[in-house]
């Protein structure tokens, strides 16, 4: 390579950095940088009235799983925390699976419409996707609460004699999360199915496959990257959900997000809150790395 060419390449890279620098600065100050602060706070001592005392301590990390018994000074399992972790993971998995079971046929339906109709149906999925999460949570709450639409209808037709007590239960959170995160499953699935070559189906039927064989042996393996993308997109925000469990769980049925908030509020244990935040971040990062690995693997096959 001649020096002139090298100069050109160097300048191109320098311009790339210069143009990206302002965005990187804002992201560092208001998105990435603050994460370093929580790392620091997770190793400090909790202040009596919230905030922190600037002494090194592992208490924050320890109290994720263990509570100090004030009488015996020994550590016991923090049952409340474990319950909340279990609920978060369980509800997130359930949400992901159910969103897939509903989202896959929906995405398939959209992708197999004629082009004009497809744009319309896709738009219908996009509207809830961009609609305020709080409004959607509130809307589903209006439907499932004691005097809500669901109970009113079921009572009117005589299916039940007294209202179903859905609100403030795990079921309510599960319904709510599936409702608010369904578009996140449908959109990547649609993108994958849209690229799917429908002539493969003709080939499959030509080779004596049944509809079930076609789905299991041809469609699902080929759209797998879309399935994984959709699942991650639903699982990650479910695990970190804050608004939906707060509104539909009524402060009783907490998830990790609410537990974190609690530590910065009434719990007055900022180091624990910081440690919990980082734990959540680690789980989410692991899920994303898994996705990147699978996605890259698929790419190198294709």
């Amino acid at each position: 390579m001649s020096p002139a060419e090298e100069d050109q390449i160097k300048q191109s890279a320098r311009n790339g950095w210069l143009l990206s620098a302002p965005a990187l600065f804002v992201l560092t100050v208001a998105a990435v940088g603050p994460l370093v602060i929580i790392l620091l706070y997770s190793f400090l001592e909790a202040g009596k009235h919230g905030n922190v005392v600037w002494n090194f301590s592992l208490e924050g990390w320890q109290s994720i799983l263990w509570t100090k018994d004030i009488f015996t000074d020994s550590y016991v399992w923090a049952d409340a925390h474990l319950t909340i972790f279990w609920r978060s993971v369980k509800l997130s998995f359930m949400t992901t699976i159910f969103a897939f079971l509903v989202g896959f046929p929906t995405a398939w339906f959209i992708a197999t419409r004629p082009p004009k109709a497809r744009a319309f149906w896709l738009f219908l999925i996009t509207i809830p996707f961009w609609t305020n999460l709080l409004i959607r949570t509130y809307a589903i709450n209006e439907v499932i609460r004691a005097q809500g639409l669901l109970n009113t209808i079921l009572m009117k037709i005589g299916a039940i004699s007294k209202p179903l007590e859905l609100v403030y239960t795990d079921t309510a959170i599960f319904i709510g999360m599936t409702y608010v995160y369904l578009p996140l499953m449908v959109l990547p699935l649609f993108a994958a199915i849209d690229r799917f070559d429908m002539r493969l189906l003709e080939a499959g039927y030509d080779l004596y496959a049944s509809r079930w064989d076609i789905l299991r042996r041809i469609i699902l393996p080929i759209v797998k990257p879309g399935i994984i993308a959709g699942s991650i997109l639903v699982f990650v925000p479910s695990l970190g959900a804050y608004v939906t469990p707060r509104v539909l769980g009524g402060g009783k049925q907490m998830m990790i997000g609410n537990l974190i908030e609690l530590q910065f509020g009434q719990g007055k244990n900022w180091p624990l809150g910081a440690a919990l935040s980082l734990t959540l971040l680690l789980i989410v990062t692991a899920a994303l790395l898994y996705y990147v690995k699978v996605a890259n693997g698929e790419k190198s096959h294709g």
């Binding site: 990206s20 560092t28 046929p105 197999t112 961009w130 305020n132 005097q147 910065f264 989410v284």
Partner: protein, 267 residues
């Protein structure tokens, strides 16, 4: 009559599930909208059409205040994030892959990957420290936070537009004696404009919708519409919330329709 031909893409039951999914997605939203016009306070009964709750919300100083603040923050955040995202998109597309480019992608998309609650808590601590030290409590913190998490949303359509743009157009401009700056102003920017506007609208909607980060970063008396609503949901629910939600919903749908038409027109 001819028999219908064999439909390869049909899978039994899929259309039914899809229809049910669309109904399930829209019934709650439509119920919310319909009941915003109910003259009764209870969901159980329909007391006739009325603008009562809209009038009530409009007369509510706290709502008006929060609405203006929401729009104010969203406007600033949309403009700032779009400007930054446009520059970053120009810096990271259509040039030879350079060292650190992946790092820039990860940084830009970081707000999409980190759970909101984690960023919210982290910002609360950091900005809390700054507020204590400086004694400044302005809207700047919220605008800064919103600008940051809006960047990836503005970046995506702009980058897509840039990548779809024919590179030879700029080569042609430079062949016709345009300096790099003239090429940018006369060729690149006009062609990029639909992407920039689309990005700005997405950023606006995303900022307008934010609950979690705003809830943690705001100082006292800095409620936006969503955090005001979240606060109200702890108390007695009245159709006033439905009216506010419907208003917000209307803005979102209008923006999305415009976005949809804008991005469709380019091909």
């Amino acid at each position: 009559m001819a028999k219908p031909s064999f439909q390869v893409a049909r899978l039994p039951g899929f259309s039914t599930v899809a229809m049910l999914a669309f109904l399930a997605l829209y019934i709650p939203i439509l119920t919310l909208v319909v009941y915003s016009f109910n003259s009764e306070i209870s969901m159980g009964e329909w007391g006739g059409f009325s603008w009562k709750w809209y009038e009530k919300a409009w007369a509510n100083e706290a709502v008006k205040d929060a609405t203006l603040r929401s729009l104010n923050i969203a406007a600033f955040a949309a403009v700032i994030s779009t400007a930054l995202a446009t520059m970053a998109a120009l810096g990271t597309t259509r040039r030879r892959v350079f060292k650190g480019q992946t790092f820039i992608y990860v940084m830009i998309n970081q707000p999409l990957m980190v759970p909101e609650i984690v960023t919210a808590v982290a910002l609360m601590i950091l900005f809390g420290l700054i507020k204590t030290v400086t004694g400044v409590h302005g809207l700047g913190y919220l605008i800064l936070a919103h600008s940051a998490f809006c960047i990836p949303f503005a970046y995506l359509p702009i980058r897509a537009r840039l990548e779809g743009m024919d590179l030879t157009l700029e080569t042609a401009a430079s062949d016709l004696y345009a300096s790099p700056w003239a090429t940018f102003r006369r060729v690149t920017l006009p062609l990029l404009m639909p992407g920039v506007i689309a990005g700005m609208m997405l950023a606006f909607v995303v900022s307008l919708d934010d609950v979690v980060i705003t809830e943690f970063v705001k100082s006292a008396g800095q409620d936006t519409l969503p955090t005001y609503m979240l606060g109200q949901m702890r108390r007695q629910l009245t159709p006033e919330i439905n009216a506010i939600s419907t208003g917000l919903l209307f803005i979102t749908v209008a923006m999305l329709t415009a976005f949809f038409l804008l991005t469709r027109k380019q091909d």
